[in-house]
């Protein structure tokens, strides 16, 4: 499949599915894509995946993104699983990785074993220049301040900041 608006002359990998009314900036996002999973990348409805985003997935890497997300150019470099919920905002120059020294296109089940999954729950907001290192779980509605390093679980509703990162504000009650 080709994207109608694409400036990069490549097909989307067959393992990629994109929901209704969603936007993906270019097939260039898959420049280093090496996943062998038949459903490696799933993008839900009404979600935007904008310029600069890269899916640098190793042979076992998978990414699932929910609905109403704005994904503004992160690099996702993993040979494990990345799960992003609904209503998630990911800002400019963010890296989601399963290895502190991640490299693209070198994933293979023998040479690079999964270090850990990344789970980002509904409503999370990840600020610019943040590094998220799996295995890690970011709870519902948490905010990750710009420039943070996230290498431990973040509770729902909390605000996380800094390097080394820590919770700087604890949970806010959700309206549900």
């Amino acid at each position: 499949m080709k994207l109608e608006h694409d400036w990069y002359p490549a097909d989307l990998p067959t393992a990629v599915s994109i929901g209704e009314r969603s936007w993906l900036y270019s097939s260039y996002a898959f420049l280093h894509f090496a996943s062998e999973d038949p459903r490696a990348v799933t993008i839900g409805d009404d979600t935007g995946v904008y310029v600069g985003t890269l899916f640098d997935l190793g042979s076992a890497g998978t990414v699932e993104i929910g609905r109403y997300c704005s994904i503004v150019g992160p690099i996702i470099s993993t040979n494990a699983r990345v799960t992003i919920g609904d209503y998630v905002l990911i800002a400019h120059a963010v890296v989601l990785a399963d290895d502190p020294f991640a490299t693209p296109g070198m994933g293979s089940s023998s040479s690079r074993r999964p270090r850990g999954d990344i789970v980002i729950d509904d409503g999370v907001w990840i600020g610019a220049n943040t590094v998220v290192l799996g295995p890690v779980h970011i709870g519902t509605d948490a905010i990750i301040a710009a420039g943070s390093v996230v290498d431990a679980d973040v509770p729902p509703g909390a605000t996380w900041a800094g390097n080394p990162g820590r919770v700087v504000r604890t949970g806010v009650n959700r309206m549900d």
């Binding site: 608006h5 694409d6 400036w7 990069y8 002359p9 490549a10 260039y28 420049l31 280093h32 890269l54 690099i75 470099s77 120059a93 890296v95 990785a97 502190p100 020294f101 991640a102 490299t103 693209p104 220049n129 590094v131 290192l133 420039g147 943070s148 390093v149 290498d151 800094g162 390097n163 080394p164």
Partner: protein, 210 residues
């Protein structure tokens, strides 16, 4: 991926006033089209031509890459006219942004992960009055010859160093052989050989990455 030697008319696309030539973007381009003062060793890989879009070095050589150096897509060689960068054999640059007005030297078998910035200069004066003079000189129609002189201090990175995602290495820093910088480290002082360093500001930690 298709081979580099054959090109169909469909490989040239125009969109939003931007042209995309696949060969400039996926590493299959002829490397001799790089500037003549970029010296490459044997079997180097440079994925994206625009890694040299802000290369303005007037030195010869301005950049030296050793044998089998791998330069991935988001790497940038942003060199001022007096800039010089050398990278040793078998190093991997995933997303290294070199901001260089003097000398940056990277050793052999060095791994630089995503979105790492290495700068040998602040590119503007610290002093408030000089900073205003600089701001005037770099205005769109300013006179850049009136810029205050840039202060540069060489950055030296030893062999077998590993630099984690998003690290920032600033002017005058020497990193010893075998050291590792954990993600997001902001490094303004020398790092001893074999040390692991993390945080902002970065400091040495004991725990090793398994």
């Amino acid at each position: 991926m298709t081979g580099s030697s054959r090109r169909s008319p469909h490989e040239q696309y125009v969109s939003c006033n931007m042209t995309a030539d696949r060969n400039d973007l996926d590493g299959s381009r002829d490397l001799t089209t790089l500037p003549p003062n970029v010296h490459l060793g044997h079997d180097c890989f440079v994925e994206r031509k625009d890694s040299f879009a802000r290369f303005r070095s007037e030195r010869d050589p301005g950049v030296v890459l050793g044998d089998r150096v791998h330069v991935s897509t988001w790497t940038e060689f942003s060199l001022e006219p007096a800039g010089f960068v050398t990278v040793g054999d078998d190093s991997v640059l995933v997303g290294a942004i070199f901001m260089c007005a003097g000398d940056i030297r990277v050793g052999k078998r060095v791994l630089v992960s995503y979105q790492v910035t290495i700068a040998d200069c602040d590119f503007h004066p610290i002093d408030a009055a000089l900073r205003r003079a600089d701001a005037i000189a770099i205005a769109p129609e300013g006179d850049r010859t009136r810029r205050p002189p840039l202060v540069t201090r060489p950055v030296v990175i030893g062999d077998d160093v590993r630099i984690g995602i998003g690290a920032l290495i600033l002017k005058g820093v020497t990193i010893g052989n075998g050291a590792q910088l954990l993600p997001g480290a902001v490094v303004t002082h020398d790092v001893p050989a074999g040390a692991t360093i993390t945080g902002n500001p970065a400091r040495v930690v004991d725990d090793q990455i398994p």
